[in-house]
Symmetry: C2
């Protein structure tokens, strides 16, 4: 029988100590970490970037098919993705959680294993947090800090007419992974004897459960002296997020359907579910790829990077936001991304 230690036996402080006792700092700027009222961070000669996200059970994740270790990993990564989307390097995070007593210490250990795996992979230090009880679901709040050379951060509001629109990686995979997991969950609820059919779906399931943040793209920019004119990460879906850049930059855009990067496994999954891969790429969220714009003159600098696709260009605001389909039609881009306040 697996060990099960009640959280209550450790108490809040014992629990924090238990969960954080093995932390070793990876950044010289991390002066003081967990165990005091606050953490202390040095940022001489750099600017600090800060970003925060909350993940709520039943809204952002379903524990029925989300392993706790993956959840811990993802909770960190989605915040780091925001820091990279500012053209900055993440250095520290704080993590607050509220959990019900139905969680054991071992379950929290699993969650933190994922947290620490992400911290190690991305070189960030966990420097603080808060641990509390919850009457109902599991709630996770992460705040990430990062460093950027003064003035080198990239906003959403500074894209220019004529700029090329680029995305990293591929789109729609996480949404199709979610569709698959929700489908398997329904089948399981109706008949618990049926085992999930996840064969050949490793890619889209991985995109949903274990996303990565695009540190490589930020490093590529630095190595190749590329400064995007505007950037954000794609968490709500390309349509929704591109419209944010257009609105905040007061420009319009043209996107080519044929240029949208879609992984072959995602395309096959879409067909299997009777979904349009293009719709999945446009409206599916949680891919955590980077969406950015560059001046046309920088095109040569990134053309050889297979992880970057040029999908369109920015226009006058008056021209609106459009997608040109493979069939030669033209549609207005609308934000059908995920709305946290509408019933799904």
């Amino acid at each position: 029988m697996e060990a099960r230690t009640e959280i209550e036996t450790l108490g809040e402080f014992g629990l924090i100590d238990h969960l954080t006792k093995n932390i070793e700092f990876q950044n010289a700027s991390s002066i003081l970490g967990v165990g005091d009222d606050g953490a202390v961070i040095d940022h001489y000669g750099k600017q600090t970037v800060i970003s925060t996200d909350m993940l709520v059970e039943g809204v952002h994740f379903d524990l029925m098919y989300t392993p706790l270790k993956h959840l811990g990993y993802k909770s960190v990564v989605v915040n780091l993705s925001d820091i990279y989307a500012m053209n900055a390097h993440p250095t520290q995070i704080t993590l607050s959680i509220a959990v019900s007593n139905k969680f054991s210490v071992e379950a929290l250990d699993e969650f933190y294993e994922g947290v620490y795996a992400a911290c190690e992979k991305y070189g960030v230090d966990l420097v603080g947090g808060d641990t509390s009880t919850s009457r109902s679901g599991f709630v996770i709040s992460v705040t990430a800090l990062g460093e950027v050379v003064p003035g080198q951060f990239v906003k959403r509001s500074t894209a220019q007419k004529g700029d090329l629109i680029c995305v990293s990686g591929d789109l729609g995979g996480a949404f199709l992974g979610l569709t698959l997991m929700e489908r398997e969950k329904q089948i399981f609820l109706e008949n618990p004897q049926i085992q999930p059919d996840l064969e050949n779906e490793a890619y889209i399931v991985g995109r949903l459960l274990k996303p990565e943040a695009r540190r490589d793209i930020i490093a590529f920019f630095a190595d190749n002296e590329i400064m995007p004119t505007a950037m954000m990460d794609i968490s709500d879906g390309l349509s929704s997020d591109l419209l944010h850049i257009c609105n905040q930059s007061q420009v319009g855009c043209v996107v080519y359907e044929e240029k949208l990067p879609i992984h072959e496994d995602a395309r096959m999954a879409a067909f299997k579910f009777g979904l349009d891969p293009t719709a999945a790429a446009l409206s599916g969220g949680e891919d955590y790829e980077l969406l950015f714009t560059i001046p046309q003159s920088d095109y040569d600098k990134l053309v050889l990077n297979e992880q970057i696709s040029v999908i369109g260009y920015m226009t006058d605001a008056d021209a609106g936001s459009k997608i040109l389909t493979k069939g030669g039609n033209q549609f207005k881009i609308t934000a059908q991304g995920w709305n946290a306040f509408k019933d799904q």
Copy 2:
């Protein structure tokens, strides 16, 4: 009839915009705020202190007797208190909330009114956040950043044998306010016709619902060249928090019951409820006063400050942690503070 706007009509981004559109920065270090993947903060020549807290409905607050404006105010203040407890000056906060659809936009406006009131009073800028739906209760997560002159932050682990133990303000009031509100709630639930009897209880109710952070004490330290040897804020109760300093500093302590600062209104409320005022001062949490130690040689510097009480001194760790009662008895101090993981 009062206006009621459904949150859904604004959507997540409309809601964030609605709640944050009037922000004006108060700190030159706030370079970029809400509306991008991250905020940008300058910290040339200073160290950054960061602290985070999560408040959960039904655990940390009861909406039945907590006005939303006060809740917003308190959510900020409890974090600023942690920054002051590091001997630092808060400069920015991020705020994430998860709310159910039963909240209207007007209700959230009230909550944010309190948030902004606290930001204005303490001179901090709200620079980021996340707004999400919740299937059940209201969850609030605040992360505060502050600045400190390099090396001037004060930890919990550096108290020395012989140091004087000091607290700001008075203790036990918030706990007695909570006791009163819980009592009135029970009476109301049993008979909704009976109006709450809060006469003469303004002080303790205020201590519970609208605590303040001790910025004045930090300013007093700077003005009088006082550098505490250790410090923390009293959120879990004096006993529990003092034991943290003792454990982390590897010292013991002696506290004099007669020196504990207890407000006259708190004392009267305690008698009315049949509670021991000393127990309320030792074990009641949420007063957000500062607990700190100073070398005996600094005693003259603070003796004239009526907001500071010297309540005892630090001893060898071997001597344990003791309280000397008015009656001449001696007891071991035990942490009976609030444990977020035990049923209350």
